[in-house]
């Protein structure tokens, strides 16, 4: 499952057609969701599938279809210097993080906690974290309204 997750993340960034990249991203997100299942966190996993694969991936697919195909096709390949710099940066960060993790004694933790019930999460959200929930609701509403305004105001300025 980890191979699927990491592999589709690479596909998402490197696929020639952007539509395959979007599908790769969906695969990677699904892989992370299965890792959540393995971690005894089914509620988060289902939430991840519903929000990411149900909403974000579909949103991305619609955007890809709205923008004409030739614009994606003419995607300029990155200059080789940029590419080398990118690979070097990514590898350096991964290796330093991995070495730091291996250096610790994290591998001694092999026991998963008991499965958190929905009630646990719900109590936590609605008591201590209630202000965060309210602010998050406002942010979501503002983001959606802002996105719709962005996409609509432009159409009025430039009638087709």
């Amino acid at each position: 499952m980890m191979v699927v997750t990491v592999g589709s993340a690479i596909v998402a960034l490197e696929a020639d057609e952007i539509i395959y990249g979007a599908i790769g991203l969906a695969g990677s997100l699904f892989g992370v969701a299965t890792l959540f299942f393995l971690l005894n966190a089914p509620y988060v996993a289902v939430f991840q599938i519903a929000v990411y694969i149900g909403a974000v991936a579909v949103l991305i697919l619609f955007t890809v279809m709205l923008v004409r195909q030739e614009k994606w096709a003419k995607e300029v390949p990155a200059r080789s210097l940029t590419r080398i710099a990118g690979v070097a940066t990514g590898l350096a960060i991964t290796l330093s993080l991995a070495l730091a993790v291996v250096d610790t004694n994290l591998s001694q933790f092999t026991t998963l906690a008991n499965n958190a019930t929905f009630v646990d999460i719900g109590v936590l959200i609605s008591t201590g974290d209630a202000p965060i929930l309210e602010v998050l609701a406002l942010v979501l509403a503002a983001a959606v309204v802002g996105a719709m305004t962005l996409a609509r105001a432009d159409r009025e300025e430039k009638p087709q």
């Binding site: 952007i18 966190a41 995607e75 960060i93 008991n114």
Partner: protein, 110 residues
């Protein structure tokens, strides 16, 4: 596949891939993909640490700590809002400039 290290290593790999995408790509949607991958790496860390390092131990093993999962729920909602805004910006930029290459969008340069 059953220790905390495995999940943290996968998270590190995802984060590295995201950084690579941010450095090399110039297509706005690919940049969004890279950011989403990095957000997922962070979420995976939250859940993994929350499940393997619970706050207390009970009679039947470690008591669960739902705080990590709660954070991830908030984080996923925020990421969805962010994706919606970015996609709207991409569509507007495409209408104005007929392009999705971020290096071509020069009207916002200082």
């Amino acid at each position: 596949m059953n220790s905390l290290t495995d999940f943290v290593l996968v998270s590190a790999m995802l984060f590295g891939i995201g950084v690579y995408g941010l450095v090399t790509k110039r297509n706005a949607l690919r940049l969004l993909f890279a950011v989403e991958i990095m957000i997922n790496a962070a979420n995976l860390n939250f859940v993994a640490f929350g499940q393997y390092l619970p706050s207390a131990s009970g009679a039947q093993g470690p008591v669960t700590n739902a705080l990590g999962q709660t954070f991830v729920l908030f984080s996923i909602a925020l990421a969805a809002a962010e994706a919606a805004v970015i996609l709207a910006i991409v569509i507007v930029a495409y209408r104005l400039h007929q392009d999705v290459d971020v290096s071509e969008l020069k009207s916002m340069e200082g």
